[in-house]
């Protein structure tokens, strides 16, 4: 069916010749994509914004009450707090680790292999990554004859500590979930920053070196300023991805023990608690939070290009 539609479009486009008919071709080429965007993204988006002003069953109009709930209800405030933690911690730590690693393995032997090790988690699904890390955090009751099978608790035991139920204690558990996201995203940061570092002109480096600039000075005055646009892009990209994180929270804790974030809460409210109005409001909030990051990103990109 799909192939048939495309065949017709191409046939029609092939028939109309001459530059006067360029418009017809342009619209024919654009039509399927624009139609799909309108039905799949624009209409549903507007509909969700509209529904965010309605009650749980979408029956009666309640104005801004859903938004009031998000900012006053104690459970929802925990969700907001967690989201802030995620967005503040993840991009910076992942970028820092990625940058450090990119500098450390630059020009090293087996550089591409070393990079692949850090990069590989990006190919693993969030669900897969969550299972990998749930295993690291696994807890066994601390009784004689019972051995730990989770690496983290085993390390604690080796150092003479008590094994913990890591994913139950708030707010520690949120940080342990953030570790998973950092684990996945550092490879992305490393790849982009490594390319940016390699693009720094040699003569600048050489000149700085002849001036006797030390390693820290080299990083501070040469590397960092040169790759600043890339750093901004990496930070904002990871930030946007982190805002929408859902799979990790759902697979590791299901949002229990005070670990829920906006994206996960949206799912729980919409599909589990049957509170569609609140779910829609959470989705809209997510939308609103993403906008400034993207605008900043685009502006920064424009500014660095025009220089």
């Amino acid at each position: 069916m799909f192939a048939a539609v495309m065949g017709v479009i191409l046939f029609v486009a092939g028939r109309v010749g001459g530059r006067r008919n360029d418009r017809v071709v342009a619209y024919a080429y654009l039509a399927p994509a624009l139609l799909m965007l309108a039905v799949g993204l624009v209409y549903p988006g507007i509909r969700t914004i509209y529904q965010s002003f309605f009650d749980a069953s979408l029956q009666s109009f309640i104005g801004l009450d859903n938004y009031k709930t998000i900012f006053t209800d104690p459970d929802q405030l925990v969700v907001l707090r967690n989201t802030v933690l995620w967005v503040v911690v993840t991009p910076f730590v992942a970028t820092a680790i990625g940058m450090l690693y990119a500098i450390l393995v630059d020009k090293a032997r087996m550089e591409s292999f070393a990079k692949a090790l850090i990069f590989l988690p990006m190919a693993i699904s969030f669900v897969g990554a969550s299972i990998i890390w749930r295993f690291v955090y696994t807890y066994r009751p601390d009784q004689p004859g019972v051995q730990q099978i989770g690496l983290l608790n085993q390390i604690i035991v080796w150092f003479g500590g008590e094994p913990q139920q890591w994913l139950v204690e708030s707010p520690l558990n949120t940080f342990l979930l953030i570790v998973v996201m950092i684990w996945i995203q550092s490879g992305f940061a490393m790849t982009v920053l490594s390319a940016a570092i390699k693009a720094i002109p040699d003569d600048i480096v050489e000149a700085a070196r002849l001036d006797g600039v030390g390693p820290w000075g080299m990083f501070r005055f040469v590397t960092l300023p040169s790759i600043r646009p890339a750093v901004v892009v990496v930070l904002t990209t990871i930030g946007i991805g982190t805002l929408k994180v859902f799979d990790i929270v759902r697979t590791m804790t299901g949002g229990q023990f005070d670990t829920s974030v906006i994206a996960n809460e949206f799912y729980s409210q919409s599909f589990r608690s049957d509170n569609q109005g609140l779910g829609a409001a959470l989705a809209v909030l997510l939308f609103i939070l993403v906008i400034p990051i993207v605008v900043y990103n685009v502006r920064h990109l424009r500014a660095s290009e025009s220089r």
């Binding site: 399927p32 624009l34 799949g40 450390l104 299972i131 295993f135």
Partner: protein, 303 residues
């Protein structure tokens, strides 16, 4: 950005020191190497531990840590048999097939539609072009969550629910803004003379698109295709929303997430299941890493 040459991914001149290399050398190499090794080990060990576990007998996984494997190595394929066989375990094999059935059209449809649209945006002048392009670009901002529930209603009322169409159409629509933007950027880089020459030879839009642009665009399209494939294969949210109810169309991520929720301590199933789901994306990643990195760089930093 140079689209057709590999110069960008190839290392720069080998002898001249880069800023990072200088910084590193002065950082007294042993410590720098040690730090790099520590990061690499921390990044690899979690996956490695689960991989080892997936080959250990069920009883041993549940009583001793995977590191004990080295003092008492016993290898079995029972766990993989258990997760794949619909009779004894969870039947991950069916979900695996579903994932493939979902992923391939979800890559091809947006790729094809986006390259048509990108062609129109890049090489045909028509009224409203800039405004439309800006609108498409701006749609990248919309998070999936905003579109899911009305879309679900739409599918139910049109009778598409619980078919693969819901996933194909959703993934395609969600991918279009980025795909159009990326392919448009690449198409703009093609020298105008090339198209002009083809036009003088009497080639129409269709001929130009297929004979001139498509061959040049292949690396860019490959980059997008890999991205979209990994994204669709690894997706949980869209799959849960549209295919979470029925088992006929759910992909492997949904099956695995459910397994993790209902049998969270069945590590023999979880470990083997995780690796069944990881197999395809990791293989693709390792084989096509070059394109993947290129796509990553094109999508985020221009340069």
């Amino acid at each position: 950005m140079s689209t057709t040459s590999d110069a960008q991914t190839a290392p720069l001149t080998a002898q001249k020191p880069t800023a990072a290399a200088v910084a590193k050398r002065r950082l007294t190499s042993p410590w720098a190497s040690l730090a790099a090794v520590i990061i690499a080990v921390v990044w690899t060990i979690p996956t490695f531990g689960l991989l080892i576990s997936s080959f250990r007998p069920e009883k041993e996984i549940k009583t001793t840590g995977w590191w004990m494997f080295f003092s008492d190595p016993t290898v079995t394929l029972d766990n993989y048999r258990a997760v794949l066989d619909p009779e004894t375990g969870v039947g991950l094999g069916d979900y695996f097939v579903n994932s493939i059935v979902i992923a391939i059209p979800s890559v091809l449809i947006p790729l094809f539609l986006a390259s048509l649209a990108a062609y129109a945006f890049a090489w045909i002048k028509f009224p409203g072009r800039n405004l439309l392009f800006l609108a498409v670009f701006a749609l990248q901002v919309v998070p999936l969550q905003v579109a899911l529930i009305p879309l679900l209603r739409l599918y139910v009322s049109s009778g598409l629910s619980n078919t693969f169409w819901t996933l194909w159409l959703s993934h395609s629509a969600f991918a279009l803004p980025l795909a159009i933007y990326l392919l448009h950027n690449f198409m703009r880089e093609v020298p105008a003379g090339l198209l002009e020459a083809a036009r003088i030879d009497g080639a129409g839009h269709v001929a130009i698109f297929f004979r001139v642009l498509l061959p040049v665009m292949l690396p860019a399209m490959a980059a997008f295709a890999i991205f979209q494939f990994l994204w669709v294969w690894n997706d949980l949210l869209v799959a849960l929303t549209f295919a979470g109810g029925g088992t006929e169309v759910a992909p492997v991520t949904v099956a695995l997430a459910n397994l993790s929720g209902t049998r969270g301590t069945a590590w023999h199933l979880l470990s083997a299941g995780a690796f069944v789901s990881i197999l395809v994306p990791v293989a693709i990643f390792l084989l096509l890493q070059r394109y993947f990195v290129r796509g990553l760089l094109a999508g985020s930093v221009k340069g």
